[in-house]
């Protein structure tokens, strides 16, 4: 029953990823064809474009939501593949612990980076506006 619930979350996370990663891919990799959220032109990874996106609360929040959804979806998918190989019950417990602790640690690092990047971008934009 619990696995069924996790599986439902796995599917729900895929819907979130489809929307936000789809947007991320369009912004980052179809910039020459579609070209959105790159107001300074050139490549999307140029610092000016990064700051423009990073100072937006919308992008900061969606990065964190995408991070959580992708970590859960990816790590739960990997866990299922490993569990299919019939590990012993001790190994299963160890893998569960590894994925939960590792996933949470990666989420904290990524969420911190999104928030800190947001602060850096806001500070830099304010400094540029003051000049």
């Amino acid at each position: 029953m619990r696995d069924q619930r996790w599986w439902t979350w796995h599917i729900a996370a895929s819907a979130v990823i489809l929307v936000f990663l789809g947007l991320h891919m369009v912004v980052m990799h179809l910039e020459a064809i579609i070209g959105i959220f790159n107001p300074h032109g050139g490549h999307p990874i140029e610092w000016a474009n990064v700051v423009e996106r990073a100072k937006s609360a919308f992008f900061m929040v969606t990065y964190i939501v995408l991070l959580g959804a992708a970590l859960f979806h990816g790590l739960y998918g990997l866990r299922n593949m490993l569990f299919e190989l019939n590990p012993g019950s001790g190994a299963k417990k160890g893998l569960n612990l590894l994925f939960v602790v590792g996933g949470l640690a990666l989420f904290v690092i990524g969420a911190w980076a999104a928030y800190a990047g947001y602060q850096v971008a806001i500070t830099q934009s304010a400094a540029a506006a003051a000049l």
Binding site: I11, S14, A15, I17, L18, L21, G22, M25, H29, L30, E31, A32, I33, I45, W47, V50, A54, L67, A70, L71, G74, L75, G77, L78, M81, E84, L85, N86, L106, I109, G110, W112, A113, A116, G117, V120, A121, Q124
Partner: protein
């Protein structure tokens, strides 16, 4: 009465590659898993690389310089291709999981028919859609500047 005594998933990882008279959908399943693993590996590294923006412009530019060049461009395109396949094939899997496009249940009367035949057009459509995305991505990566 037959009693099942073997271990489940007897074929293990080799079962991803073959093991019966499987249709194209079985290989889409294998590809879905392989692309999923590839995307996960990339994503875990991506978290650390893109965290550089939290340390300001020079850290960001240094991180981006580290992952630039032909090798990384090709790798990035491979990630885009994996994303295109995994995302669009994933839509197909969810649609089928919800019982859409699998046909109505029928009595098992010889010659037997399989639901996979009903699902096949969906598989073809999503692969064509993925191919369109892959081509668009290729144009953006390598042709249009």
């Amino acid at each position: 009465m037959l009693e099942y005594k073997g271990r489940p998933n007897r074929l293990g990882i080799w079962g991803w590659l073959g093991g019966g008279r499987w249709g194209a959908e079985r290989y889409l399943y294998t590809l879905h898993r392989l692309t999923g693993l590839g995307l996960l590996a990339y994503f875990l590294l991506h978290i650390f690389v893109t965290s550089a923006r939290a340390f300001g412009q020079s850290a960001w530019q240094q991180a981006m310089a580290t992952v630039s060049g032909t090798f990384f461009t090709l790798g990035e395109y491979a990630v885009f291709v994996a994303f295109a396949f995994h995302a669009i094939n994933g839509i197909r899997l969810v649609v089928i999981e919800l019982g859409i496009g699998v046909g109505k249940p029928i009595e098992p009367v010889y010659p037997y028919r399989t639901s996979v035949d009903v699902q096949r057009p969906l598989a073809v459509i999503v692969m064509l859609a993925a191919a369109v995305l892959v081509v668009l991505g290729g144009l953006d990566f390598f042709v249009i500047k």
